[in-house]
C-alpha cells in the first residue's frame, strides 16, 4: 500500500516535471525540471529494489549528463535569455502529435496483458559483474567491449573538433569577427 502511494507520487512528479521541462521558455529551468524527471525515475528504481540501476541512473544522468548540460548552458547563455514561444500552428500540431502518441500508447498498454518474469531476479552486483565478462550464453562481454570502441570514437571526435577549432577561433578573434555561432548564422 505504502509502495503504491509512493509509486503514484513519483509518477505524478515525473509527468508534471516533464511537461514543465518541455513548456518552459528558460532553458536552464528546462534542464532543472528534466533533472526532476530523472531523479524521480531513480526513485522508482529504488522503490522496486533495483538499487544498482537506481545508483546508475543517479550517477549517469544527475551527476554526469545534467552537469554537462548545465555547464554548457552556463557557458553559452545569459540569465536574461528566454527561448522564443513557438507560434500557434506549431503548438497545436505538437500537442496534437503528443496526444495521438499518448492515446495510442495508452490503449496499447491497457489492452496488452504483460507477463511477469518467472523466478527471482538476481541483481547482486557481483553477478552483474560476472555477466559483463561472460562470453557464453547470456554473457555481455561483446557489447561491453564494443561500447568501449564507441566511447573511444566519441573521445577522439570531441578532442579533434575542440582542438581543431582553436586556430579558427584565434583567427576570428584577431580579425574582430564574432566568435559565437549564434550571432553569425542569423538568417539574412
Amino acid at each position: 500500500m505504502t509502495e503504491r502511494i509512493i509509486f503514484y507520487i513519483l509518477a505524478f512528479i515525473m509527468i508534471v516535471f516533464s511537461l514543465m521541462s518541455v513548456t518552459s521558455t528558460k532553458i536552464i529551468r528546462s534542464a532543472i525540471y528534466l533533472l526532476g524527471v530523472l531523479m524521480a525515475t531513480a526513485g522508482l528504481y529504488f522503490l522496486f529494489n533495483l538499487n544498482f540501476l537506481g545508483a546508475i541512473q543517479l550517477t549517469v544522468y544527475a551527476g554526469g549528463i545534467m552537469v554537462l548540460i548545465v555547464i554548457a548552458i552556463l557557458l553559452t547563455h545569459h540569465v536574461g535569455f528566454g527561448l522564443p514561444v513557438p507560434d500557434k500552428k506549431h503548438m497545436i500540431l505538437g500537442w496534437l502529435a503528443a496526444m495521438i502518441g499518448i492515446t495510442i500508447s495508452f490503449f496499447q498498454f491497457t489492452t496488452h496483458t504483460f507477463k511477469p518474469k518467472i523466478g527471482n531476479l538476481d541483481d547482486r552486483v557481483s553477478k552483474m559483474g560476472a555477466d559483463m565478462l561472460h562470453y557464453g550464453d547470456g554473457g555481455f562481454v561483446l557489447p561491453f567491449e564494443v561500447i568501449s570502441i564507441l566511447l573511444l570514437a566519441g573521445i577522439i571526435a570531441a578532442i579533434t573538433i575542440a582542438k581543431g577549432g582553436i586556430p579558427h577561433l584565434k583567427k576570428r578573434l584577431k580579425s574582430g569577427q564574432p566568435t559565437t555561432v549564434s550571432s553569425s548564422t542569423k538568417k539574412q
Binding site: 536552464i28 531523479m39 544498482f52 546508475i56 550517477t59 551527476g63 554526469g64 552537469v67 552556463l74 557481483s126
Partner: protein
C-alpha cells in the same frame, strides 16, 4: 550483539509497543530523518568550531574562547545571527533557482550520510550498492553549486561555479576509482560488508602498498571534492570574493556553509570506513586477548575517533599547502592521479589474484 544494535532494537520494540506495526514503521522513518537532521546541524556547528580552533592552533593564537566554556557556544551564536538576518539577493537573479540551489547540496549530503555505518547496524540505508550509491548522490551536489552560481547573476559567482563544476567532475573519478581499488579486496559494495571484512586487519594494512597509494589518492581527491584548500578555487577569496555563494546571505548562506563542512565529514567518514575499519575496533589477526580488550571501546567511539583524525588531517592541509591554479588542478588529476589510479587498480587486482594480502 553490539551496543548500537541493541539500542536500535530497543527503540524498535518500544515503538512497536506503542503503535500498530504500520504506524511504528512510519514513526521509525520520521525519527530517523529527524535524527539525521539534528546530527547534520550539530556536526556542522561542531566542525566550524573545530576548524576555527585548529586554525588558531596552527597560527599560535587562541581562536573563539569567549562565548560559553572554551568558546563552545560561539558557532551556535553565529548560526543564530545568520538565521535572524534578512536575506539579500540580486535584483535580476533567477529567484527560483537562486532559492533552490542550497537544497541540492543539503539533500545530497544528507543522502550520502545515510549509508555510512556509524556503528554496528547503525546506518539508515544499508543497501547492497552502498559505496556506489554514495558516489552517485554526492555527484548531485555539484548541480547545486552550478545553479547557485548561475542563479546569483554575478560574474564571480558564475566563474566560481564553472570552476567547481570542472573540479568536481574531474576529482569524482579519482574518488570512485580509489574506492574501487579497496572494493577489490572486499568483494562487496555494501558498507556493512566492507566493515565486517576488516575484523582482522583494517583494509589499509590488508592491502599494504596499493591500499596505501589508494588512501593517499583518496585523501587528495576527497579534499578537492569537498572544495577545501588547497583546492578551494571555487571560492578563492582573493580572486572571486566568496565564489559561488557571494550573493547569498542569512539562512541560505548558512546552508552552504554547513553543507561544506558536512561534505568534509562525509569524505572523512568514508575514508575512515573504507580504509581504517569504520566502527570496527583495532584488531590484529588472531590475537584474541588484544582484540578483546579493544572491543571494550564501543564502535561509534572508534568511528568518530578515526573520522576526527582524518578531519584533523584535512584541516592541517589547509594551513600547509598553497592554493593551486586551475590548470595545475586539472593537470594533477588528469595527468597524474588518474593514470596512477588505474595502474593501482591493476596492481591491486594482481595482488588479490595472487593472494598477496594479509
Amino acid at each position: 550483539m553490539h551496543g548500537t544494535e541493541r539500542f536500535t532494537a530497543a527503540v524498535h520494540q518500544w515503538l512497536l509497543g506503542m503503535f500498530s506495526p504500520g504506524a511504528a514503521h512510519i514513526a521509525e522513518m520520521v525519527l530517523t530523518g529527524l535524527a539525521y537532521l539534528a546530527f547534520f546541524a550539530v556536526a556542522g556547528l561542531a566542525l566550524v568550531y573545530l576548524e576555527r580552533r585548529i586554525a588558531a592552533f596552527f597560527q599560535v593564537r587562541l581562536g573563539p574562547n569567549r562565548v560559553g566554556p572554551f568558546g563552545l557556544l560561539q558557532t551556535v551564536a553565529d548560526a543564530l545571527k545568520l538565521v535572524a538576518k534578512e536575506p539579500i539577493g540580486t535584483k535580476k537573479a533567477d529567484h527560483f533557482l537562486y532559492s533552490l540551489a542550497p537544497y541540492f547540496l543539503i539533500i545530497s549530503s544528507l543522502m550520502a550520510i545515510s549509508v555510512i555505518p556509524m556503528g554496528a547496524g547503525f546506518s539508515a540505508f544499508d543497501i547492497d550498492v552502498g559505496v556506489f550509491f554514495l558516489i552517485a548522490v554526492s555527484s548531485v551536489g555539484v548541480l547545486g553549486i552550478l545553479i547557485a552560481g548561475w542563479g546569483s547573476y554575478n560574474k564571480y559567482s558564475l566563474i566560481g561555479a564553472l570552476r567547481s563544476g570542472a573540479q568536481m567532475i574531474s576529482y569524482e573519478l579519482s574518488v570512485g576509482l580509489s574506492l574501487l581499488t579497496m572494493i577489490l579486496l572486499v568483494g562487496s559494495l555494501r558498507f556493512s560488508d566492507v566493515v565486517q571484512a576488516q575484523s582482522d586487519y583494517w583494509l589499509i594494512f590488508k592491502g599494504h602498498i596499493p591500499a596505501f597509494i589508494a588512501f593517499v589518492i583518496f585523501i587528495i581527491s576527497g579534499t578537492a571534492e569537498s572544495n577545501r584548500t588547497p583546492f578551494d578555487l571555487v571560492e578563492a577569496e582573493s580572486e572571486l570574493g566568496a565564489g559561488f555563494h557571494s550573493e547569498y546571505s542569512g539562512i541560505q548562506f548558512a546552508f552552504f556553509f554547513l553543507s561544506e563542512f558536512i561534505n568534509m565529514f562525509i569524505i572523512s567518514a568514508v575514508a575512515a570506513t573504507v580504509f581504517l575499519g569504520g566502527w570496527m575496533p583495532f584488531h590484529i589477526g588472531d590475537l584474541e586477548g588484544f582484540n578483546h580488550i579493544m572491543d571494550y571501546i564501543p564502535g561509534p567511539v572508534w568511528f568518530f575517533i578515526k573520522t576526527g583524525f582524518i578531519i584533523f588531517l584535512m584541516m592541517w592541509f589547509r594551513w600547509t599547502f598553497p592554493r593551486l591554479r586551475i590548470d595545475q588542478l586539472m593537470k594533477l588529476e588528469w595527468k597524474y592521479l588518474l593514470p596512477l589510479n588505474l595502474l593501482n587498480i591493476l596492481l591491486m587486482a594482481f595482488f588479490v589474484w595472487k593472494g598477496w594480502y594479509l
